[in-house]
Homo-oligomer: 317 residues x 2
C-alpha cells in the first residue's frame, strides 16, 4: 500500500476544491419553478382576471371566480367607479391575490373616468373633457412621462394606503407600453415598489436596448402570455383556450380572462362593443367556472400559481 | 234733455280714465296656472325624479318612467359615473324634461365621485381622497363660495354644451342650501342661465332678508313640495303619497320620487343604507307606474306640468 506524502495530499486537496468550485459554477441556475419549490420543468400558470373595479358586474364575477378557485390572481383599475367597492372586499377577504392594473385609458363610449390625480397635474393624459383617451395610440403621443409617473404612483399608493399589499403590477390595454418612456416608468415602478410586473419575454425584442437589457435581468418575465383575441374565436368558446393550454411549455405562463355578468349594467357599459364586451365576459366567466376547463388544466399537468408567490421570491432575493 | 257742456265732458273723460286705470291696477295678477293657460285655481303638479345619472339602474328606471308618463320632469347629477349615458339618451330623445341636479355631496360609502372641475380648483369641496363630502353639514362648513360657483357652473355648462337645453336647476341633498352664500349662488345661477330653481316658499323664512327678498320676487316658487321621508312610512307604500295628493292645494306643487331597479348594481351602491336605498327606489318606481297611483292623480283633479313650461314662461316675461 502506497502512502501518499504531504505534497501529494496538498495537490489532491486543491484538485478536489477546484472540482467542487467547478461543479458549483457549472450547475445551471435554478428555474423559477424550482425556486418556487416545484419540479424544474413545471408548467406554471397564472389565471388572471383583468379589470377589477370596472363595474359592479365585474367585481361580482371576480369575487365568484376567486372563491371558486377559477382565477389565481387579478388586478384592479383604481380610477374606475367600482374600485372602492373592490378594495373594500379585498381588505376584508385576505388571501385574494390582487395587483394594480395601471390605467391610463378609458375605452367605453359613455362610461368614462380620468385619473385620480388632480386633472391640472396630469393634463397631458386627459382629453378636453377630463377623461383618459380611449386608445393607447393617443395616450402614447400625448403623455408627458412625469405626469404619467405621478398618476401611476398615485394608483399604486391608493391601494397600499387602503391597507392592501398588492402582488404585482400590470397594465390596462397596454397603457404603459404606449411609448418607451412609459415602459421605463413601468420598470422603475417595479423596482421602487419591489413588485413583479407582467412582461412577456416575446415583447423584449421590440424595445430599445437600454430597456431590454434591464428587462432581461429580471427573473420573472412571462415565458408565454395568452389572451383571447377576436380573431381567434371559432367553434366553441373553449377551443382557443384548449389549444393554448395544450400547447403550454415549462416556465411561467399566464392566461388573462375578462369576466363579468352579462347584466343590464355591463350591457350598457359595453354597448356597441362586442370585443371584450358584456356577452364576451359572461362567456369567459362561464368557461373558467366549468368542469371542462378545470379538467383541461388537470389533464395538462398545469401548476396553478399566484403573482404573490413571485413577489415573495423577489423579496427573498 | 240736459246738454252737458265742454267742461263737464272733460271731467267725465278724466273720471272714466281714472276708473279704467284703477280697474287695471286692481285686477289681481294672473296666477301661475293662468299664465300657463289653466284655470286660476288649478292644482299644478310636477312629478320629479331625482338622481338621474347616478347609476345604470336609475337611468333605466327614469327612462321607463318618462316613457310611461309616470314622471314629468327629472334632474341629472352631472359628476356621477352614469351621467354621460343619461345625457346621450336625452339628446336622442327630445321632449324629456330634464334639469341639473346640482351636486356637491357623495353620500354612498363605496361608490363615490368628486367634481368635474380639476380638483385643485375646488379643493374646499373635496375630502382628502378627492371625493365630495358625504353630508351637507361638512360641505356647508368647508365650501368656499367661489369654488362652489365654479363647480356648479361647470355642471350646468357640461349639459348645455352637450346640446341639451336644461329646464330647471335643483339640488342634490340640498347641497346649495348648505349655507347662505351657497343659496346666493343658487339664485345667481337661476338669473344667469334664465332657469327656474326648485325652491319651496316655506323655506323662505329661514333665510337672511337680503336673500328672501330676491326669492319672494320670483313667480315660480313651489307652494308645496312633497318628498317621502323615512318617518312617514307606515302601512302601504302609497299611503303617505295618497295623503299628500289628497291634500294638494291650488298652486305649484312638486312630488319628488327616487326611482331605480332593485338589482345587483343598485343594491351594491346603497349597501348599508335603507333610506332612499335600492328597495326604496324600486318601491317608488312600482308606485308611480301603478294604475292606483295614476287613478289617485285623476281623482284629485291634478294638472301635471313640466319644469319646461315654467322656464318658457320665464323666457316670455
Amino acid at each position: 500500500m502506497k502512502i501518499i506524502n504531504t505534497k501529494e495530499k496538498g495537490i489532491i486537496l486543491i484538485l478536489v476544491s477546484l472540482l467542487f468550485t467547478f461543479c458549483a459554477y457549472a450547475q445551471p441556475p435554478k428555474t423559477l419553478a424550482e425556486q418556487l419549490g416545484f419540479p424544474k420543468d413545471s408548467k406554471l400558470l397564472i389565471i388572471h382576471a383583468d379589470d377589477m373595479g370596472l363595474a359592479q358586474s365585474v367585481n361580482a364575477a371576480c369575487i365568484k371566480a376567486f372563491n371558486e378557485g377559477a382565477i389565481t390572481s387579478g388586478s384592479i383599475m383604481v380610477p374606475c367607479p367600482w374600485s372602492l367597492d373592490m378594495i373594500d372586499y379585498i381588505k376584508s377577504h385576505r388571501g385574494m391575490d390582487v395587483g394594480i392594473h395601471l390605467t391610463m385609458t378609458a375605452e367605453w363610449d359613455l362610461y368614462k373616468w380620468g385619473g385620480i390625480t388632480p386633472a391640472d397635474q396630469i393634463s397631458s393624459l386627459l382629453d378636453k373633457n377630463g377623461y383618459f383617451y380611449p386608445a393607447v395610440e393617443a395616450l402614447g403621443k400625448a403623455a408627458k412621462a412625469e405626469e404619467a409617473e405621478r398618476e401611476l404612483k398615485a394608483q399604486i399608493n391608493k391601494v397600499i394606503e387602503s391597507g392592501i399589499q398588492p402582488t404585482h403590477i400590470d397594465t390596462h390595454m397596454g397603457s404603459v407600453l404606449a411609448n418607451p418612456e412609459l415602459v421605463k416608468i413601468y420598470l422603475r415602478l417595479s423596482e421602487e415598489y419591489n413588485l413583479p410586473i407582467l412582461f412577456p419575454k416575446a415583447y423584449i425584442g421590440w424595445l430599445p436596448p437600454e430597456i431590454s437589457k434591464v428587462l432581461e435581468s429580471k427573473g420573472f418575465l412571462l415565458d408565454n402570455l395568452f389572451m383571447l383575441e377576436p380573431s381567434m374565436i371559432a367553434g366553441r368558446w373553449i377551443d382557443p383556450y384548449k389549444k393554448a393550454i395544450e400547447g403550454l411549455k415549462p416556465g411561467l405562463n399566464q392566461i388573462i380572462v375578462h369576466i363579468g355578468y352579462d347584466n343590464d349594467e355591463l350591457k350598457a357599459i359595453c354597448k356597441g362593443h362586442d370585443d371584450y364586451g358584456s356577452a364576451w365576459r359572461q362567456k369567459d366567466l362561464d368557461l373558467i367556472l366549468s368542469s371542462e376547463f378545470k379538467d383541461l388544466l388537470k389533464k395538462n399537468n398545469v401548476i396553478l400559481i399566484r403573482w404573490g408567490q413571485i413577489r415573495d421570491l423577489m423579496e427573498k432575493n
